[in-house]
Symmetry: C2
Subunit: 249 residues, 2 copies
C-alpha cells in the first residue's frame, strides 16, 4: 500500500493523527489538540500559495477523504454525482465535484439546506424524505458520495446509483447491511474511503489552490474548544470549526 502511495491503508494499521498510538513512544496521539507536533518530513505538505491556512486545515482530513474516491471513481466533466449529507465532508465533496466538472446534486433530509447547496455549486437538491423525489432520481448518479454521519439504511441511496455506478459510504464506520438485490439490479458497487495517501493529498492541495477551494469554517480561540464541541454535537456549524492556538502562546 505504501508503494501505491496509500500509506493510509497500511497493513500494520496507520498511525492515526489523534486517538492513535505513537509508534516511537507508545503514547496516545493528540493531533490538532497538540501544542506542538513532530512529524516526519515526508508526511508534511507545503501549503500552496493562495490557500488560507485556517480554511485549508480541514482539507487535510475531510477534503482528502472525499477527494480520493472522487478521483478513483473517475469523476470529471459529464459525471453525475450526488452528495448525501451536507456537513464537513459533504460541503467539500460538493465543491470538489463541481470543480472537477461533474453535474452535482445534493441529497438532504430537509429542504432547509437547498440555498447552501446551490451556493456551493450544486445543480439540484433531492429531499430524501420525499419518496417521489427519491423515486424520480432512481439510477441517476454515476457516483453517490454518502457523508451521512449516523447509521442509516443504504438501500434508498443505492437505488439512486446508475448502472455500474458506485456508492461511496464515507460518513460512518461500523457494519453496514445491504440487500444483495440492491447491488445486483444495476450491477452497483458499494465502497468506502478514508483519509488519503501522500501523492493524492499533494494533488488535492494543488487543485484547491488552483480552483480557490477551501472549507467553510468558523474560527474559535482554542480556549473555547468546549463550546465548539458542544455546538458540533448539535450539528451547529457551517461547516468546520478551526481552533486558533495562538491564545496558548
Amino acid at each position: 500500500m505504501c508503494r501505491a502511495g496509500q500509506d493510509n491503508f497500511c497493513h500494520a494499521f496507520p498511525t492515526l493523527t489523534y486517538g492513535g498510538i505513537d509508534r516511537e513512544d507508545g503514547t496516545t496521539t493528540l493531533g490538532g489538540y497538540s501544542r506542538e507536533y513532530v512529524v516526519r518530513d515526508r508526511f508534511a505538505y507545503p501549503l500552496p500559495e493562495g490557500l488560507d491556512p485556517a480554511a485549508a486545515a480541514p482539507l487535510l482530513c475531510a477534503g482528502i477523504t472525499v477527494w480520493e474516491p472522487l478521483r478513483a471513481l473517475g469523476v470529471g466533466p459529464g459525471s453525475r454525482v450526488a452528495v448525501a449529507g451536507l456537513g464537513g465532508l459533504g460541503h467539500l465533496a460538493v465543491k470538489l465535484a463541481v470543480a472537477l466538472g461533474a453535474d452535482t446534486s445534493v441529497i438532504s433530509r430537509s429542504p432547509g439546506k437547498a440555498d447552501d447547496a446551490r451556493r456551493l455549486g450544486a445543480r439540484a437538491v433531492i429531499v430524501s424524505t420525499d419518496p417521489e423525489q427519491m423515486a424520480a432520481a432512481r439510477d441517476r448518479f454515476d457516483v453517490v458520495i454518502d457523508t451521512i454521519s449516523a447509521p442509516h439504511d443504504l438501500g434508498p441511496y443505492l437505488r439512486l446509483v446508475a448502472l455500474d455506478g458506485t456508492l461511496s459510504h464515507l460518513g460512518h464506520l461500523g457494519p453496514v447491511t445491504v440487500e444483495t438485490a440492491d447491488l445486483l439490479i444495476g450491477r452497483k458497487k458499494l465502497s468506502s474511503a478514508g483519509s488519503g495517501g501522500r501523492p493524492a493529498t499533494a494533488a488535492m492541495l494543488a487543485f484547491c489552490a488552483d480552483k480557490r477551494i477551501a472549507a467553510d469554517i468558523e474560527i474559535l480561540p482554542s480556549a473555547r474548544v468546549h463550546e465548539a464541541l458542544e455546538r458540533l454535537r448539535r450539528n451547529d456549524v457551517r461547516y468546520r470549526f478551526v481552533l486558533d492556538m495562538s491564545d496558548l502562546d
Copy 2:
C-alpha cells in the same frame, strides 16, 4: 435499463424464466421444466456453430451471470482474478476469466478441488480454511468472483481484493453485512450481478464458440429429474445437470 441493453435490470422487475409471473396470462413461468416455450424473438439467441446444445445451455444463466461482471470490471490480460467456490457458476467463471487472459486463482474450502481448478485453467488454489494462505493472498486480486451459494462472511474475501478492486457477490441472494473498514482500507468495492442483457449474452455466446468454452455437464433423461435435484442438494454434480427432454416425445 432496456436502452442500456440490460432488460434483466428492468424497473418493473424482469419476467423470470421460472418461478416468475408471465406478463401475458399471469401464470407461473416454468423455464426449462416446460415441454414447449413461446418466447419473443428478440429474447432468443442463435446457437453459434461449434457449441454443443446441451453444454451451451448453462451458459444462458450461469455463464452470462459471471460473464457480465467480468466484462464490466474490465477483466483481461494482466488482471488478477480469484473465483471463490467451484460449482456451476464458479467453474464457468474460471474458464471465462482464463480465456479473457486473466491470471486466475480458485479459492476453495477444501484442497480436494485443486486438480479440477488447474484442469480448468487456474494458476493457483487458495484453501480458504487455511489462515496462512488467506493472509498471504491479502490485497492480491483486482476482481474476486464470489460464487459461494450459502450465506457467509464476506470479510475474508474482501481482504483478498486489491486497492480499488471489486468483490462481485454472485452466489447468494439476501442481505449481506460487511464492516465498513473492510471496504475503506483499500477503497474496495462490493458488487453483485445476475443474468444478463441481450447484447452481452450474444457477445458471450460468440466468445464461447470462438474459445470452445461450454459448461461441464452431466445429461440425464428428464424422467430422472428427482435424482438430479437430490444429487444437486448434496452438491454432487460437476458442474451442471442438463435434462434431456426427448423422453417426453
